[in-house]
Amino acid sequence: MRQDLRYFFDLVVVLTAKEIKVRYKNSILGYLWSIALPLCFACVFYISFKVVMRIQMENYALFLICGLFPWQWFSNSVNSSAMILLGNSSIIKKVKFPRATVCMAMVLNDGVHFLLSIPVIALFLYLHGFHPSWTWAYGLPMLFVIQFLFTYGIVLMIASINLFFRDMERLVSVLITLLFYFTPIIYSETMIPPSYQPLIALNPLASLTIAWRHLFLDGHMLVTHVSISLAWAVLLFSLGTWTFRRLSPRFAEVL
């Protein structure tokens, strides 16, 4: 049992290191690319909502950045999830290794990526006259784990179901776009009209996004939102693991 755990750990480490190495092969350029995309989005939204539509909010650029970086982690992982097992088909068909490690390594890779972008967030905070707070010391790891479980669960579900229904990929990209606009990333949760407020609870990602933003902007860990997102994370993680376990004995047949 201990040997198995040791092996599982090694496998995840080697696979994650591989992903990171491939991504940062062009060393500094790789890093720039990874932060350029969310910053570009921030720019676009800033121009359309602040400059053109005149949204009533101070520090809107900062507000956007605090939501877009965590979103980037989530959407990158989920977007690649449909193809992750297909991309590794040659090895899955031949070798019996714990397949979930491939998915885990992918989510961790995007997660490491997100961690590396936190200095950029801190820099923007500083430029706007804010400061990182001491709460980050436990808030960041907590939310990191929550978002990891959350994303990993969804990735496991999509990855395994996509082998049986190959058009999941398109569905996923549509749903991702919908989710983006239904999540308070480019607007704040307080701007949602009161009659629609209860609907926030139905969006699994809303609480997590709100929690991240408050942690970054004012150093608060909002107990309600953190608890709600933890509950979603545990639910999605269990559902994902269950689905994956049910379907994985058939992977080699359908690939």
Partner: protein, 246 residues
């Protein structure tokens, strides 16, 4: 003595996945046929197969395409499950992968040895301990720190084979592996396999090359129409197979 691999009345049938893999849209639009197909459509790859393989044997599986040879290898590797029947495998199974499988082409040869070794079941420390031996054996030399997309197919084959050769396999699965590489590489492979045989490694070999089968195997099973047709010494089975196909 207890067999290393034992198949007892193993039947393997696959559902016809076509109704699913064409997508949700298709599945919903043709719901009645799709459900019927998923329930009843079955393709039988192996029917009621039983055999035992003992430690140190080198067993070749021959037969025409689609007879079920690869399904047997997949069942031994444990990547698919039998529909009915029982399979017992005692020992660590190491498959020799097809060219480039489990490799990442942007990474160096050294990184790929680690990746491949870990995927094939070793811990990181075990692979690192054998790293120099593997590199030496592969004869890739200075290119080992280059990304493998610049390797020739012969170099890839050597790299893949040297990883497997140093895994200390207990059961080795070989699927048409001698087809690539130049004469000296093939000779080296054969030599290594003879060494394995002396070390009592059990080998299962699927091939269409009767020369290779005759050279390596100690026993041959001819799979025909999803069942075992003939089981015996290489000379006997191969000549029967050749005479039937000529």
């Amino acid at each position: 003595m207890k067999p290393v691999i034992s198949f007892r009345n193993v039947t393997k049938s696959y559902p016809l996945y076509g109704s699913f893999t064409s997508g949700i849209k298709n599945f919903l639009f043709h719901l009645p046929t799709a459900i019927k197909e998923a329930r009843c459509g079955q393709f039988q790859a192996l029917s009621d197969i039983s055999f035992d393989i003992h430690s140190g044997e080198t067993v070749g599986f021959i037969g025409s395409n689609g007879a079920g040879k690869s399904s047997i290898l997949s069942l031994i590797a444990g990547v698919i499950q039998p529909t009915t029947g029982e399979i017992e495998v005692n020992g660590r199974v190491s498959p020799l992968l097809e060219l480039g499988a489990g490799f990442h082409f942007e990474l160096t040869g050294r990184d790929n040895i680690l990746l491949n070794g870990v995927l094939l079941g070793l811990t990181k420390a075990q692979v690192l301990a054998k790293m120099d031996q593997i590199i030496d054996y592969s004869e890739i030399g200075q290119f080992i720190d280059q990304p493998i997309r610049s390797y020739s197919s012969g170099m890839l084959a050597r790299l893949g084979f040297s990883v497997v050769a140093h895994l200390e396999p207990e059961i080795l699965l070989l699927d048409e592996m001698l087809a690539v590489g130049d004469a000296s590489f093939q000779k080296k492979c054969l030599r290594k396999m003879m060494e394995f045989r002396e070390d009592n490694v059990t080998m299962v070999f699927v091939s269409h090359s009767m020369d290779d089968v005759l050279r390596i195997c100690t026993r041959v099973l001819w799979i025909k129409d999803h069942a075992i047709f003939l089981d015996g010494s290489p000379g006997e089975v191969v000549s029967a197979y050749l005479s039937q196909n000529s």
